[in-house]
């Protein structure tokens, strides 16, 4: 099983989860690997849950990651981080954006949004390799709240540096080149800064 890296990305429609997985799959390809990505379009703009899968490896067959097979978990929103927590491998690498987006069911119903302590304790039951980042806050400080997705990828890029995979040649430049290709030209600079800010956040994680 260790001849691939299986990423599971979860978030809420509108958070840029799909762009992040698009960057991720292309980084895999640029790093000299086979790479595949899968997601479902159609409802993602309507504030629903969004799930996306990316796989890297010397040989990759399935575009989907089955439950229990994700070894890297990138959660763009805290409630979604909890929702899919039982789908990741015990010991998986976890990166969670500390953003809360309240669903409609909270507004009309009686349920409450789970608190941070609950989230951290549940994550700790699955893995010790978890990082929490205020990516939205970092993005805001860069003057563009839409680049939080790239901040998260910046953080992820640091965490992946000690992963080894046959045939993988991955540097920060690989990431930056792909980002420059995948975002609209006028947002290339702010996205590059977002990536660097994400990397720096790993030096002193929240």
């Amino acid at each position: 099983m260790n001849d691939t890296i299986n990423f599971l990305l979860v978030g809420v429609g509108g958070q840029g989860t799909i762009l992040a997985s698009d960057v991720l799959v292309n980084v895999g390809l640029s790093a000299g690997l086979q790479a595949k990505q899968a997601e479902v379009h159609g409802l993602s703009q309507r504030g629903g849950s969004v799930t996306s899968y990316v796989r890297w490896g010397r040989v990759v067959y399935s575009p989907l990651v089955g439950a229990g097979e994700a070894d890297v978990y990138l959660a763009f929103e805290k409630l979604e981080a909890l929702r899919h927590l039982n789908k990741i491998q015990p010991g998986a690498l976890v990166v969670i954006n500390q953003e809360a987006i309240l669903p409609m069911s909270l507004i009309s119903g009686d349920k409450t949004y789970p608190d941070d302590e609950f989230l951290r304790s549940k994550v700790a039951q699955v893995t010790q390799q978890a990082v929490f980042i205020d990516a939205a806050g970092v993005a805001d400080s860069l003057g563009n709240n839409r680049v939080a997705n790239i901040v998260l990828l910046g953080a992820l890029s640091v965490l992946l540096e000690n992963r080894e995979l046959e045939g993988m040649h991955l540097t920060p430049e690989t990431w930056l080149q792909v980002i420059a290709q995948r975002v609209p030209p006028k947002y290339v600079e702010v996205n590059k800064r977002a990536f660097q800010a994400g990397r720096e956040a790993m030096v002193a994680p929240a």
Binding site: L29, L43, R46, Y61, S62, P63, A67, K122
Partner: protein, 597 residues
């Protein structure tokens, strides 16, 4: 050059490289992007048709005229197009004709998960199924070749995981079609005029044709044996092939790229070379039953589910259960229990112009029959279920009419979007007028095809390839159908919608209300975004605005002093300023937009 392409992008690329000249489609997840990508290539005519039946007619006409053509649709679109698909299957064409069906196992965005391979068998046409984006491109090209070689339409069957997975693709160049020269339209009535005397002859031709294709299937390059251990042989297709490869590293595999007609000799040869034969295919036991009819012992749906989609886990755990894999292959799941979490279903967006109609319909408590589109998201509101039935494209009006004719004592309502009305709503409206039944029809005109991501339609004045065109106006069309009571109102005008609907309930004739406002996510809708505010001192937490069910209206942590109820607050990042909540608020506690000068 290698590029990451989704299956849909790859099909579009393949069609372009194959020299396709004409492409027609109606948008539908997961197929929509095929035409969106194709429309951007040079030297191609690509269009949105009002429905899939028209799309297949258009593609057939182009192929009759000697140019390569395709029609693309989601799986249920082929139900709409079935009549046309069946005649095209009889006639064949002068140039390649490819019908693309994008099936949706697991119903990510569909009302059913029908397996359209059955249509290939039904129509005596070949069915090709790629397993990744590279094959999606290559097999699209192959489909055109096959179509011309055997004078048959070809069904290219994709599934959601092929359409919406991105995998590397080696790009090629466009091959200008061998039949690119404009030919004279064929004068060949025995082939193209399907009156009984000709159709009888064509039936013989198509039966011979499908058996010739079956012969060719024995050496079709996308049907291939990947030899492995003798103990287990797997026959598989489409994306299931990837899961089989992932899970069974040592098994022998027969990958079928053409799943109809089947290569009987190849299957027999493969079956004879292995000890246990298993079919791994999503949805119907289509290959399995055919193999069993050959008299070959085979397993399939006794092991793997007939419902939903597969993934490596589904394949592996079922294989472990029946002893195809050792118990040690089982992957344990984490036992973490996160308890019940608040759900996050897709909802009508903030600023959605449909929201006011659903708010009023919820209030009036009339039985509402729904249709296919974003307004399916208005299914539930805090006031309870608003929409009581949803079947398929264009069903709402006929269902409401039938219920009324059955003597339903309540006034039946049908809601249908602009694009869906053009798709198959018009005939049902005519039926209601012709058979004079007093149902209320609400046409939710948001000036686009919303759910599939803003495609143009006959009411938008734009074509797929960005040309300005005649904008078909709904109100005159409705009048021309014989409706006497029709009114177009601004979609955010809550009171006017309520007054009109109440008025309509007293009529003994059919009536139509058109609510008109661009989708809030369209560029012209976005330009109007301006967040409103709650004036906290005036809000007493009456919760009426929560009934509007807008994601931008939240419960505040501040309680009203007198009633101890949470006040409302508005999330400025989400609010578009549609003013529905402001109109509903009985205490003028929500600001309106500043009056425009």
């Amino acid at each position: 050059m290698i590029k990451m392409l989704s299956g849909n992008e790859a099909v579009a690329r393949g069609a372009w490289e194959a020299g396709v000249a004409v492409a027609s489609a109606y948008p539908g997840t997961p197929s929509t992007e095929i035409l969106e990508y194709l429309a951007r290539y040079p030297n191609i005519y690509a269009e949105w048709a009002p429905n899939e039946k028209v799309a297949v007619d258009v593609a057939a006409g182009a192929a009759y005229a000697g140019r390569r053509a395709l029609a693309a649709m989601k799986h249920v679109g082929l139900n709409v197009a079935a009549d046309s698909f069946m005649y095209a299957a009889l006639t064949g064409a002068e140039a390649g004709l490819v019908i693309i069906t994008a099936d949706d196992p697991a119903m990510h965005s569909s009302q059913n998960e029908q397996d359209n391979r059955t249509f290939a068998k039904f129509g005596r046409v070949p069915c090709l199924e790629p397993s990744d984006s590279q094959e999606a491109k290559d097999m699209t090209i192959a489909a055109f070749g096959l179509s011309e070689r055997f004078d048959t339409p070809v069904l290219l069957r994709l599934t959601t995981r092929i359409c919406h997975s991105s995998t590397p693709v080696e790009l090629g160049e466009r091959i200008e079609p061998s039949r690119a020269e404009t030919k004279k339209f064929p004068r060949n009535p025995t082939k193209y005029v399907m009156i009984p005397v000709n159709a009888v002859q064509r039936h013989f031709v198509t039966e011979k044709r499908i058996s010739d294709i079956a012969e060719m299937a024995e050496t079709f390059p996308y049907n291939r044996i990947e030899p492995g251990e003798r103990s287990l042989g797997i026959i598989t297709n489409g994306v299931a092939y990837q899961y089989a490869k992932e899970v069974f590293r040592d098994a022998s595999i027969l990958r079928l790229g053409m799943t109809w007609p089947l290569p009987e000799k190849l299957i027999r040869q493969f079956a004879a070379s292995v000890e246990r034969l298993v079919v791994i295919e999503e949805l119907d036991p289509f290959i399995e039953e055919a193999v069993r009819l050959m008299g070959i012992p085979v397993e399939g749906k006794s092991i793997f589910p007939i419902t939903g989609e597969f993934d490596p886990r589904v394949v592996r755990e079922n294989a472990v259960r029946v002893g195809l894999l050792p118990v040690k292959a089982h992957v344990a799941l984490s036992t973490v229990d996160v308890g019940p979490l608040p759900v996050r279903p897709p909802v009508l967006c903030p600023g959605c112009p449909h929201r006011s109609t659903f708010y009023v319909l919820g209030k009036l408590k009339l039985p509402v029959n729904g249709d296919i589109g974003c307004y399916g998201l208005g299914l539930e509101s805090p006031t309870g279920n608003v929409i009581l039935t949803i079947g398929c494209m264009g069903a709402s009006i006929g269902v409401a009419h039938g219920a009324a004719r059955a003597g339903s004592p309540e006034r039946q309502v049908a809601v249908i979007g602009d694009s869906t009305f053009f798709h198959t709503g018009i005939q049902a409206l005519i039926n209601t007028v012709y058979n004079h039944t007093p149902v209320i029809i609400v046409i939710l005109d948001n000036r686009t095809t919303g759910m599939t991501g803003h495609q143009s339609n006959p009411g938008t004045g734009q074509t797929l390839q960005g040309e300005s065109t005649t904008e078909i106006e709904i109100e005159p069309l409705v009048r021309a159908c014989g409706i006497k009571h029709v009114k177009t109102v601004e979609a955010f005008a809550v009171d006017e919608i309520e007054t009109t609907l109440k008025e309509y309930t007293r009529l003994d004739e059919p009536s139509v209300l058109i609510t008109r406002e661009p989708c809030a996510l369209l560029p012209e809708g976005r330009k109007r975004w301006l967040p409103l505010e709650v004036i906290a001192e005036q809000c007493n937490g009456c919760a009426l605005c929560f009934r509007v069910a807008c994601p931008a209206i939240l419960k505040s942590s501040e309680l009203d002093e007198r009633y101890q109820r949470p006040k409302a607050i508005i999330d400025a990042a989400l609010c578009t300023g549609c003013e529905i909540c402001a109109q509903v608020c009985p205490r003028d506690a929500i600001t309106f937009r500043p009056t425009e000068n």
